[in-house]
């Protein structure tokens, strides 16, 4: 449509009006008559036998409606929570799948494991009663140290997973990698930890449920990134409520970052219990509960080796990773360190042979699952750390070493040795532009100037690739994924010409209401103000997979394009009838149907009106109405790429690292709204900086207590921690989706940890520091400089 709101425009966000004026509506805002409130009693122990639970005194307390324990849900045959992705181990056996009851039966397995649910007339009454529940625990030794999870004598989390092993999985052929290493001129070795993170969405998880006794219908309001998938899981696997009797609504949701993809026990319990207590039930997590029970992210221990020839060409990469699953397998946990991690280990490079072995462990800690980037940040951190280390060891410029190994532009589509076929990309111009923006040439002068001020300055590269836009359903199915990965769209014109766009994607900060409206406005030539994007309600939107894995635009946006094509096709037929012309002669331009070579024209709005008031309408050939559905299943993933350059200055006296410059050049394909993309990149980089320098989920290795269980100890990144970012884009359009778009939601978080840490290592190298882990906190930097004291 107009340049101000069409594809490529920096249109202001439609949703900001309500968010900035405090009129967003979140689950906790929901007014429900006769509501009760749930409080979940959590295990204070990482591992213990429950010898007895006595709820008698608690049940007698004022305001208490009902108390449920694991025995109640087991007696009622409530199903366990599921892991929806079957990973087959190196012997072809499916992963070990220990039961995940909605409430603990006889054993608690992490601090925060659910022991009882109290339903009362107020949150305070529920909490008072929870304190009166007497639980007799026999505390047992806990398995908390991931690196030792498989050691002999370590307590087992589940009898179904002997030795705490969920799977021993591999990709590639080890003998081929060994053969390539035998010919190497240089081998670089790296031991690194990918630190565990806590998602910390601004809105904590919440759920509210209502049961209509008359119809037998349940309604669940949940802070979900994918309400349809949540309903499918609850219906088909956990609660057995038929899908048509369960409506799931995800209203405004304040951030997810992956942690709200999964089916959790609290929303399950609230739904189940609503019919038993006969009143609506509301629950909103306290921040402390979010720390303890939101699925955590990352948490890998890795050994990697890179073989190079004498010129620095990569010959082979070997990676051995232990991945933490936590105490139970969350919804997509098994896929994250396998298909979303090891398949990315080629990075941007032509490494011909790659072998990766991944062993997944259960531990007495909170479940671990996808968190912004999910597997791809871990892969990028391994690759980009070892490449920079190899460059330093071989005394080759780190940018030059990357260039020597980039997949050349003419090689696309490019089949990697780890399953993926990259569809498009052109990496050398990206790093060239990043180098120019970051003034890489001037770095050594800046380092010398900093040294004169007593500061250690360093620069770090990170050239990332990611596979996102999940995804081709056929491939996902072959890899063990339990669901399709297409997306849906419905474009529904009203008789007066305004439009509702219904999507199966869900916006919890991504600005779909703006971006999707821009697509429809641009494609159909209607003013953006007349386009309403509707999402998040299984009763009104077509079945869709939700938002995660940077998929909404590439897959959901493509579905909208398909639906718009159907609108145009139908409109052409109507217009041809109205203009008494042949359909083949009708063209659609900027919201108007025209007969080529004449001055005959009918605006889209007139065809819409004719479709709803079909007085003059080809009823013999066409159905009335202007309402089109589309489903889009992509033929491949999309492959955004880019290079980040981070420059840091370290105060050796205090160990404080300051990021003084940060450059990111990305290829996201075509861009619908550059302002929104920049926002996504900013947020992603800050999350990556958080992982690199600040954030760490720390469990006490003996007791399994979460030491970093509040903002007093969990260090979130702040605005003052980052400089103004220097961003640029290069565009190679995605060749297989109609918008030519790739994903941008995770890129910043995928690339930034390696960029920051390579800069930190570069700064510390001259003072003899060989190794430092994330997060590079002031104390850890100071300790590294001072020999680990």
């Amino acid at each position: 449509m107009t340049a101000a709101t069409g594809i490529g425009a920096r249109a202001l966000r439609t949703e900001d009006k309500r968010f900035l004026t405090g009129t967003g509506r979140y689950v906790d805002d929901l007014p429900l008559a006769r509501a009760t409130y749930a409080y979940f009693l959590r295990s204070p122990h990482a591992h213990a036998k429950i010898k007895s639970i006595d709820t008698a005194a608690a049940k007698a307390m004022p305001g208490v409606v009902e108390i449920f324990t694991g025995k109640d849900t087991a007696d009622a045959k409530v199903g366990g929570l599921i892991c929806g992705w079957v990973v087959k181990d190196k012997h072809g056996q499916p992963h070990k799948a220990p039961p995940h009851p909605v409430m603990a039966l006889d054993t608690v397995r992490y601090v925060g494991d659910t022991v009882a649910m109290v339903v009362a007339n107020s949150v305070g009454a529920a909490r008072d009663a929870a304190e009166a529940i007497e639980v007799d625990y026999e505390v047992l030794p806990a398995n908390v140290d991931l690196a030792r999870a498989f050691d002999k004598g370590v307590p087992e989390v589940h009898p179904e997973a002997p030795g705490n092993l969920i799977y021993d999985w591999e990709i590639g052929v080890k003998a081929d990698a060994d053969a390539a290493f035998a010919k190497a001129a240089h081998v670089t070795k790296l031991d690194i930890v990918n630190n565990r993170l806590i998602p910390n969405a601004m809105e904590p998880r919440a759920a509210a449920a209502d049961y209509d006794k008359g119809t037998g219908n349940y309604t669940l309001w949940s802070t979900s990134q994918n309400p349809h998938v949540l309903r499918l899981i609850l219906s088909a696997f956990v609660l057995g409520i038929p899908e048509h009797k369960l409506r799931v609504i995800a209203p405004d949701v304040g951030g997810g970052f992956g942690s709200k993809i999964f089916c959790y026990n609290e929303e399950t319990m609230v739904t189940w219990a609503a019919s038993r207590v006969g009143r609506p039930i509301k629950w909103t997590a306290e921040r402390s509960e979010s720390f303890l029970t939101d699925a955590h992210g990352r948490d890998h221990v890795t050994h990697a080796e890179l073989a190079l020839d004498k010129d620095g060409k990569f010959l082979a990469l070997k990676v051995d990773t232990i991945a933490n699953m936590g105490a139970y397998l969350s919804t997509f946990s098994t896929a994250v360190p396998t298909y979303l991690y090891a398949t990315l280990l080629a990075g941007q490079y032509t490494t011909p042979v790659i072998y990766a072995n991944v062993r997944a462990a259960v531990t007495h800690t909170a479940p671990v699952d996808a968190y912004r980037g999910a597997g791809r940040p871990e892969a990028t951190f391994v690759i980009e750390s070892i490449v920079s280390k190899a460059a330093a060891e071989m005394k080759i410029d780190p940018a030059e070493l990357r260039r020597r190994n980039f997949i050349p532009a003419e090689a696309f589509p490019y089949q990697t040795p780890v399953a993926l076929q990259y569809d498009s990309g052109n990496y050398p111009p990206i790093i060239d532009e990043a180098i120019a923006i970051a003034d890489y040439k001037g770095f050594e002068a800046r380092r010398a100037e900093a040294k004169a001020r007593g500061k250690l300055r360093g620069i770090g590269f990170s050239s990332y690739i990611e596979a996102c836009g999940l995804g081709p359903s056929r491939v996902i199915g072959q890899l063990g994924g339990g669901v399709g990965q297409w997306e849906s769209a419905q474009i529904k014109f009203n008789p007066t010409g305004n439009v509702q766009v219904l999507t199966g994607a869900h916006s919890h900060g991504q600005s779909h209401e703006t971006t999707f409206a821009q697509i429809v406005s641009d494609k159909l030539g209607v003013p953006i103000e007349t386009v309403e994007v509707v999402h998040g309600d299984t009763a009104t939107t077509p079945f869709g997979m939700g938002s995660y894995g940077s998929r909404s635009l590439a897959v959901g946006g493509s579905a909208i394009m398909k639906a718009a094509d159907k609108i145009i096709a139908k409109g052409k037929k109507i217009a041809a009838h109205l203009m008494e012309a042949d359909v083949a002669d009708v063209v659609f331009e900027q919201g108007t149907f025209k007969v080529a070579g004449t001055d005959k024209a009918v605006p889209l709005g007139a065809t819409v009106f004719a479709a709803y008031v079909p007085h003059n309408y080809p009823l013999e050939e066409l159905e009335p109405g202007m309402d089109e559905n589309a489903f889009y299943d992509p033929s491949n993933f999309v492959y955004p790429s880019g290079t980040q350059i981070c420059e840091v200055e370290i105060d050796p006296e205090t160990g404080v690292t300051e990021i003084v410059s940060f450059t990111a050049v990305d290829d996201f394909g075509n861009i619908v709204n550059p302002m929104i993309v920049e926002g996504q990149v900013h947020g992603g980089i800050v999350q990556g900086v958080g992982q690199a320098l600040h954030e760490a989920a720390v469990y006490d290795k003996q007791t399994g207590q979460l030491v970093s269980g509040s903002y007093m100890d969990y260090r979130m990144p702040r605005a003052e921690d980052v400089p103004s970012f220097k961003l640029a884009n290069k565009v190679t359009p995605c060749p297989h989706n109609p918008l030519g778009v790739k994903g941008c939601g995770e890129a910043g978080a995928i690339a930034a940890p390696a960029a920051v840490m390579n800069a930190v290592r570069d700064a510390l190298g001259p003072v003899g520091v060989q190794h430092i882990e994330m997060p590079a906190t002031p104390m850890s930097v100071w300790q590294a400089i001072n020999g680990g004291k």
Binding site: Y711, Y714, M716
Partner: protein, 265 residues
């Protein structure tokens, strides 16, 4: 939080009456520590006596050779006070470094000093400037006031009405924030006073403490070079995931040097 009786006195006398003979009653000023503690159900007072309505406890006065700050005066008011900035600029700077804007506009000097959090900022200024704490029972010297972790010389029902800071010849405060909470992981207040040089450290130990070796060195030569090689022992210092005792001991010297440079500016 648990239920409690709530009192909102308008005068100091009413407040004292509300606290009298109630061992489980607690006064609340800014509530920056107490309210979260109540919300987390870690504290169960019988009565909460809210001091926020007592006008006589607020205000900043320049008196004699120093500044007197009412017990209920907010950190933001100290940080922005022209009188404090002119008389003891380091004190205004300290107040400006406390917490975040929400904390500074709610938290009070009396509440901070009475709570004696090991990581609070004010205790460093109180001790280094040799302040006098005036209470409803009388006056306390700074050196006798802080007794240990969350422990002071205050008796039950005794309220801080004002803190008086004598004007130093020069003073400086440098703080290394806990990366997560932003409390002082190590805060060092250095003051050259009429009674000599005083160096007070907060955040590093269970309670604010003075560093005699640094005071002696600075008395001879008030420059950061004079203390650069003075190391304090790590024994007995706080240790957590953000800072080991050794790291804190190291930071005491670094922050002390920077505080002296600040004072000499």
């Amino acid at each position: 939080m648990y239920d409690f009786a709530y009192h909102h006195p308008k005068t100091l006398a009413e407040a004292l009456a509300a606290l009298k003979d109630k061992p489980e009653a607690r006064p609340v000023s800014g509530g920056m520590t107490l309210i979260p503690t109540l919300k987390m159900r870690l504290s169960k007072p019988s009565d909460l006596v809210d001091l926020n309505g007592i006008k006589e406890l607020t205000g900043i006065k320049v008196e004699g050779n120093g500044v007197t700050i009412g017990g209920m005066t907010r950190h933001a008011d100290v940080a922005s006070s022209a009188d404090v900035k002119k008389t003891i600029p380091a004190l205004a700077q300290l107040a400006a470094l406390i917490g975040d804007p929400a904390v500074r506009n709610r938290g009070t000097i009396g509440g901070s000093v009475a709570n004696a959090d090991p990581a609070a900022d004010y205790p460093a200024a109180v001790v280094a400037l040799d302040a006098t704490i005036t209470t409803t029972e009388g006056k306390h010297k700074a050196d006798d006031f802080f007794k240990g972790l969350f422990e002071t010389a205050l008796k039950d029902g005794e309220l801080i009405t004002a803190v008086s800071f004598p004007k130093p010849e020069k003073a400086g405060y440098e703080k290394f924030r806990n990366p997560a909470s932003r409390y002082a992981m190590v805060g060092v207040f250095v003051a050259k006073t009429a009674g000599g040089v005083r160096v007070a450290v907060t955040g590093a130990g269970p309670s604010v403490f003075r560093v005699k070796a640094m005071e002696d060195a600075l008395s001879k030569n008030f420059s950061s070079d004079a203390i650069k090689d003075i190391k304090i022992p790590a024994d007995g210092l706080n240790s957590d995931i953000h800072g080991s005792a050794e790291y804190r001991a190291h930071l005491v010297t670094v922050m002390a040097r920077r505080a002296v440079d600040q004072a000499n500016k």
